[in-house]
Symmetry: C2
Subunit: 409 residues, 2 copies
């Protein structure tokens, strides 16, 4: 068995990205290849894994998602920290387009199970980021973490109208995998689950496509499954002041181990698209407060024209969620569209997997969502069916560091 996986012409989506970026510049997945150069504008390159903050937050939103929530089954603290170290090492490799383990899918002894599952052999890094977070349930007596639970990780209140399914909500640890190729995102989550065998189990997982927000001004605004541009006024990585003040947690917030981290809220929002699709264009536009074609706010012509709240209906979605209605609260959203087949009642099971990062959900997500849950006419067409909240620690500094080291220190 060769230890060297030859570079090969990559197939599928990746091929387009490679063609765009120049095939010669990209290293395909290989045991010995150097990490690929970062190509922010390509769909095949790699983002750096090490840094002050975790990648996958302000990183320009990739097009595909595999999100997983694990429950920890071991009760031994050393096993948990050992797993976090193993995961960190694997994530450092996977995000650079390498195999999950040192011998890889085909480089180990034939009598052993490979330390990579192989379905991403030959595929480039594809912009993969892996972002970890710790749920409130981890901060119990099992691991001695009760006193370290951040105040900002307060339980979410019950929102009017939500119909949460416990089996697909919560979780001790989450990992968000974003990439431009779903095979690469799935491969990463699957290998983390493989590594965690006997210590964690998959509580729930969600695939998504068609990112529904931009996180950089270099990106165009995508559309959600209601056909509207989504996230026009999203917090973006270029918004230095907002990012500093409203995205990253700081030591003075109370939980020093979270300095440089961020709080993640997920909501799976099922849409009754069949009903929406029979609603008039005018009603759709009134509900959002934007026009469907350009995404311009009511009364304006272009997407990025300043919002004139007075030109909208009092309960327009944009108006209810606007920062001026919530003490200037902003969110960094990076959600995805989903279709989970059909629902057994003749309808597609489709909607938005909402993802938002912020410094303190108590002052950001919660008041905004409470206002929407109470007043938004969009509620006629949507239903929140799952919820998650996770404290995402700061970035991994170098190969000696690991996910959550500050928490367990």
């Amino acid at each position: 068995m060769s230890e060297h996986i030859s570079r090969r012409k990559i197939f599928g989506l990746g091929a387009a990205g490679v063609a765009a970026a120049g095939a010669g510049a990209i290293a395909a997945r290989s045991l010995l290849a150097e990490p690929p150069v970062v190509h922010a504008s390509s769909t095949s390159g790699a983002f750096p894994f090490y840094g002050e903050h975790q990648a996958g937050i302000v990183t320009p939103a990739q097009d595909r998602l595999h999100f997983v929530a694990f429950d920890v089954t071991t009760t031994r603290r050393e096993e948990l920290t050992g797993l976090l170290q193993e995961w960190t090492a694997a994530a450092a490799r996977l995000t650079q387009g390498r195999d999950a383990g040192a011998s890889g899918a085909v480089g180990g002894p034939p009598e052993a199970a490979p330390d990579d599952t192989g379905e991403a052999l030959g595929l480039p890094a594809s912009g993969l980021t892996l972002t970890v977070g710790f749920g409130a349930s981890l901060f119990d007596d099992r691991f001695g973490l009760a006193a370290r639970r951040p105040a900002a990780l307060a339980d979410l209140p019950r929102f009017p109208g939500e119909r949460l399914i416990p089996e697909i909500s919560g979780g001790d640890i989450c990992v968000q995998a974003c990439a431009h190729d779903p095979q690469v995102a799935v491969h990463a989550i699957r290998n983390l689950a493989r590594i965690g065998f006997g210590k964690v189990t998959v509580r729930w997982s969600q695939l998504g496509f068609g990112r529904t927000s931009s996180t950089s001004r270099a990106q165009t605004t995508p559309r959600n499954l209601m056909g509207f541009k989504d996230g026009t006024n999203n917090m973006k990585l270029e918004d230095d002041d907002l990012v500093r003040d409203q995205l990253w947690a700081a030591a003075e917030d109370g939980a020093d181990w979270m300095a440089g981290g961020s709080y993640l809220v997920t909501r799976k929002i099922r849409m009754t698209i069949e009903t929406w699709d029979r609603t008039s264009l005018r009603e759709q536009e009134d509900i959002f407060g934007r026009d469907k074609n350009e995404g311009a706010p009511a009364g304006k012509k272009n997407e990025f024209d300043p919002v004139d709240l007075a030109a909208m209906k009092p309960d327009a979605h944009v108006r209810l969620a606007h920062p001026t209605a919530h003490a200037n609260a902003h969110l960094l959203r990076r959600g995805y569209n989903y279709v989970d087949g059909s629902d057994g009642l003749g309808r597609l099971d489709a909607g938005l997997f909402f993802i938002a990062y912020q410094r303190d959900p108590r002052r950001q997500f919660v008041p905004v969502q409470m206002s929407l849950a109470k007043n938004d006419p969009l509620n006629e067409y949507i239903k929140h069916v799952s919820s998650g909240m996770f404290a995402c620690p700061p970035g991994v500094r170098d190969a000696g560091d690991y996910w959550g080291r500050q928490l367990f220190a």
Copy 2:
């Protein structure tokens, strides 16, 4: 509301394809644009809709799938044929990167529901193909079609080990949407479901990614979720004799309306990937009869080296399925990997959505699958949970023709 949707910088996956092909050459979705030029090598161009055969069969397999099976709820034959005509007109538009209807997502009167749902505004054709098929259940007394059921559309036998779930099996009509952008594939299926409201309901639907077979020699061989190259010896569009003899139905087969059509078998094959991932590399390779890295048959060095069956274990997957074991029976496979979240038991719900086209399942899929179901050691790691079989009629010749015209004539 403008009737003209301006060309805009497209986002996401499409952007890579456009960059590769030259943005100027591609028409973004627009009411008035000319159909985009065919770019077989780009991920944004369009495939022709009209032709002797339906597109989406020998078409080089695109990277994303949304497959849907409908049950017909109307009992009126005229409503059914009317729907097929409406669907055909929409499919002719959608596959060329246009809106589903003439006024589109934003061009109609504001007091009416739009005739396109809008989430693909600004996206290119993305290689979309839409392929229709008729299930055995359509050939009952409701529409007077009982006498027109092709002999080749015989019910599949019960295969050992299968655990079929009726709710996600069968269906009166299927539509296979393949594209390079999942948002485009989902948009197409969703709009067909919207058009069919009151006449059909969605019985089941399945998303897939990472095509698991090539259908052209111009494509590299992709990998399934077991990490192996899949479909190395698949029937390919360049195999003129095989395509003529084993893919397309002919008038002399008995059902003259199917001449130029093909029979589709779908099988959702759940993999217990957690168990597979703990199996040794040697056992994995013995089971398939190929090496995991190159995909070379046992005892050979390169993927496309001639297969030496004697070098494999007697029950190797490649050997059991080989044409020489089944009177030279070939299939044109174009399946997809899937991950449907998790299964509530701590595992990912993942596997292969198998799709195969052929001239006569009684002589092709059935004997091959019966041999595999009885003898393949791979069965320890897989389970067939859904099954479908559909008669896919010949292609639509021109704008005066429609899906299934020959059947209802």
